[in-house]
Structure formats: structure tokens, C-alpha cells
Symmetry: C2
């Protein structure tokens, strides 16, 4: 009896990433070192932070001049006003602003806490890490570099950790994609028992990002994972197709 | 070099499920038939529909008397008023009701379209399928039956397909759990580069449910998947810990 099987493989041994680093080479080297070299048809999921760091998307808080608006919110909720200022600069809309929490819509259209701006806690290194400017472009660049370095045609997903309404806890979702279509469209089809598929647009890119979170081990610092054996719809891919239009969203 | 690896294994050959069926035995038989027998420490993810059918949670629409409220909404949006009536009966609150879409809070506290009520499309078989009354109890029963039938201590997740705000497409999430803690609590910890983990409560049960959707193949009707090789926090588990309290949710 045949059955579908997918392997989720965490990639250990990726060194600390800095501006200008060749993360494609780091990934290729690390996957070879752990005897799981990349294969054609793999999906490579990379956390946003290593991509952002390689692209130099960090800001030293010493260079940030917070606005009066940022200062007032920060004072009220015991935040760093410079961090709040960067969050505001990374936002095109504040969705909710209450109890010290900033739920923002980023310039890309993602809705998440603090516009995805992460604060470092290294003493004396007061910097924050921003999302990539164009995560699809980042994914495309990485995909091409993997191809150039190994000859393998892979898909690339850049993931980040987002909270969500109604349910406790975060899940990893896709914020950038290359080489695959992020939605599986099953509309109009029915299952073998005659039930119409109730929700027939499956956000597979988000499910893949969440799946690889299970092997990525935030604490031990595994920022990359491979998804092997999955059938997916190839194509250029575009993360905007995962962002709900404001007019079609009953929740805005 | 060691690395984390998880296998997602779809379970083929589960027969059509009816009221009173022993799905634990069906799962054990099917996993043996495809030479992937269940092992201690596996997580077994089962879609809601087979659990509901085994528990007799289907309703014949011929026995439903829609209220005037259900009839009016159904007429306006070209719905079956009996289906709308069942959805209302399965709800404790309507979250949104617009453009023919009913986003409901179920009696369990889940927020989803149509309170999880699925419509059959088999001609002449006008029935709908409801969520289990107590999905945690369903998961516990299944877990015990797997243990009794195989001697293996597994975790069980019951999954369903939910839409979500802001992002297009659905993902599978956990609606019942047994044998594992659904949230991974990383609060206060930091990654190796000194970044405080920004979102430090990871909804691993939802990530697992979504991951197995990738091998479950809605069209071909694979309703069960195994997750093998994952480190998880054992415990009784309780799906209520995944439901955000109304007072703490900025999105309600």
C-alpha cells in the first residue's frame, strides 16, 4: 500500500549571520555537513531573521529619534520609545493599540505584532531586526543561489512567527515565497464521501512554515529546515496572494 | 552532525466511517497494512469528520425545522435554511454575519465558519456533519483505545480546517487533544544571538494539525496522519488552553 510521506529536516550548524553573508552557501554547506544534501523538489524554509540580517535589515537604536507619539505610548506601557518608533516606521496602519500591544499592518500588508520588529537583548548591542523589504525577492534570490550552487530546483519559503486572533499562541507563517504557489485551490471538488470541501483554498505555504517550526528549535537556534517529499504546485509564487484584500475580509 | 527530523505519514486505506465504528482499530489495521505500524511517541492526527461520523454526529436535514431567522438569512444569501438552522444551533455567538458568511463561536469556544457544520453533497443524502460534542474526550477515548490495541503510548490530535482573518486560505488546527500539551512555552528565553523570543508561546498543536494536512490529501480522502520523531511535552492536554479568553483578546 502506498502512502504519502513528508520529511521535515532541521538544518543544524548554520553560523551566525551578518550583513552581506551568503546564506545560500551556508545552507548548502550545512546540509552537506549533516549528510542531508539538498535535492531537487525540496522546499527550503528559512526564518526571517537570518534573511534580514544577511540583508543588513537591522537598526541601531542609538540612531533612532522617537516621535512624541512613540514616546507617549512607550512611557505609558514601559516600552523603549526608540523600539516603538521603529515599529511605527515599519507600519502603514495600526490595527490595534492597547495594553502595550501594537498590532500593525506592515508596508507589505502583513498584520502582526510590532510589524515584525524584533528586539535584541545583547547588552550594549541595542539593535532591532526588521522584516526584509521584499521577502518574495529575498526568496527568489535565495532560490536562484541554491540552484546556481547545487543545480537543484527547490522552492523557498521565508517564515516568521505571528500571533493570531481567537487562539492562544503563535504559529509560523510564510512571509516570502519563490518557486511554488502558496495556495492549493480545491474549490468545487468534493471528498470521496460526497462532502463538498467546505474550505477549499488551503494555505499550504503557511502550513509548511508552521510544520518546519516543529524542527527549527528556536532556543537552540536552528533557522532553516527542509521539507522533502511533498507534492506542490510549482510556479513563481507571490506572497500577496496570501494577504486578504481589505474589502473581502469580514474581520477588519 | 545530528539534526532534528520529523516524519509526516499519511494513513491510506481507512474505510468509510459510520456510527459506532471503532476508528482506533481502523487506524491500527491501516497503519499495519501500509507497513508503518504505530510506535510509542507517535502523534496521531485525525480529521474531525471521521470522529464525528463514528460518534453519530450527523443530522438529517429532513428532521430540521428552520426558524424564521434562519429562513430569512438563507433566502437572502441563497443558502439551505435547514443548514443555517443547524449552524445556529451549534453556535453560542455569531461573530460576523455578512455576505452569506456565518462566522460563529461554537459551544466549545472555537471561532470558525458555520460552527464547523459540513454539508454533504450526496444526492438524496441530505445530511450535515457536526463537530464532536467534546473533542478532548474524543481524543482521550481514541488514545486509550490505541494503547489498549497496541500497547503504544501516543498523543492524539483531532483537527479541523479553519479560515482566519487577514490571510487568504484555510489551515488545519487542533480542536481536540490528548496526551500532549498543546502550547510550547518559551517565555523569557532567548535565542543564541541574544534576541528575546518575541512570540514565546508556540501553538505546536495547531502547527502539527496544519503539518499533517500536507499529507492528508482531502480529495483522495486520507483522514489520518502520523507524526513521528517529534519531541513534545507529554501531559493530559486540554484544547481550552488554545482558546483565547475574550477579555485578553484584542481582536474581539
Amino acid at each position: 500500500m502506498t502512502y504519502p510521506e513528508i520529511r521535515l529536516i532541521g538544518v543544524s550548524g548554520i553560523p551566525e549571520v551578518g550583513p552581506g553573508d551568503d546564506i545560500a552557501k551556508m545552507i548548502l554547506d550545512a546540509t552537506i555537513a549533516q549528510s542531508t544534501p539538498i535535492l531537487d523538489g525540496d522546499i527550503i524554509v528559512v526564518t526571517q531573521k537570518v534573511v534580514s540580517k544577511a540583508e543588513g535589515r537591522t537598526v541601531s537604536l542609538h540612531n533612532v529619534n522617537p516621535s512624541p507619539f512613540a514616546i507617549e505610548f512607550a512611557l505609558r506601557w514601559d516600552k523603549d520609545p526608540r523600539h516603538v518608533e521603529v515599529v511605527l516606521q515599519e507600519s502603514r496602519r495600526i490595527v490595534r493599540m492597547d495594553r502595550g500591544v501594537l498590532i500593525c499592518e506592515t508596508h507589505h500588508g502583513f498584520v502582526c505584532a510590532n510589524s515584525g520588529v524584533d528586539q535584541s537583548n545583547i547588552p550594549g548591542v541595542e539593535q532591532v531586526c526588521l522584516l526584509p523589504i521584499d521577502p518574495d525577492a529575498s526568496a527568489r534570490t535565495l532560490r536562484k543561489a541554491i540552484y546556481d550552487g547545487s543545480g537543484n530546483d527547490v522552492a523557498v519559503i521565508i517564515s516568521d512567527t505571528f500571533g493570531r486572533p481567537w487562539r492562544v499562541g503563535s504559529t509560523d507563517v510564510a512571509i516570502g515565497i519563490a518557486g511554488m504557489i502558496p495556495l492549493d485551490d480545491l474549490r468545487g471538488q468534493m471528498d470521496p464521501h460526497g462532502y463538498i470541501l467546505r474550505v477549499a483554498l488551503s494555505a499550504v505555504a503557511d502550513e509548511i512554515a508552521g510544520a518546519t517550526d516543529l524542527v527549527r528549535e528556536k532556543i537552540s537556534g536552528i533557522p532553516v529546515a527542509l521539507v522533502r517529499g511533498m507534492q506542490f504546485v510549482r510556479g513563481e509564487g507571490n506572497i500577496q496572494t496570501l494577504i486578504r484584500e481589505r474589502d473581502g475580509d469580514l474581520f477588519r
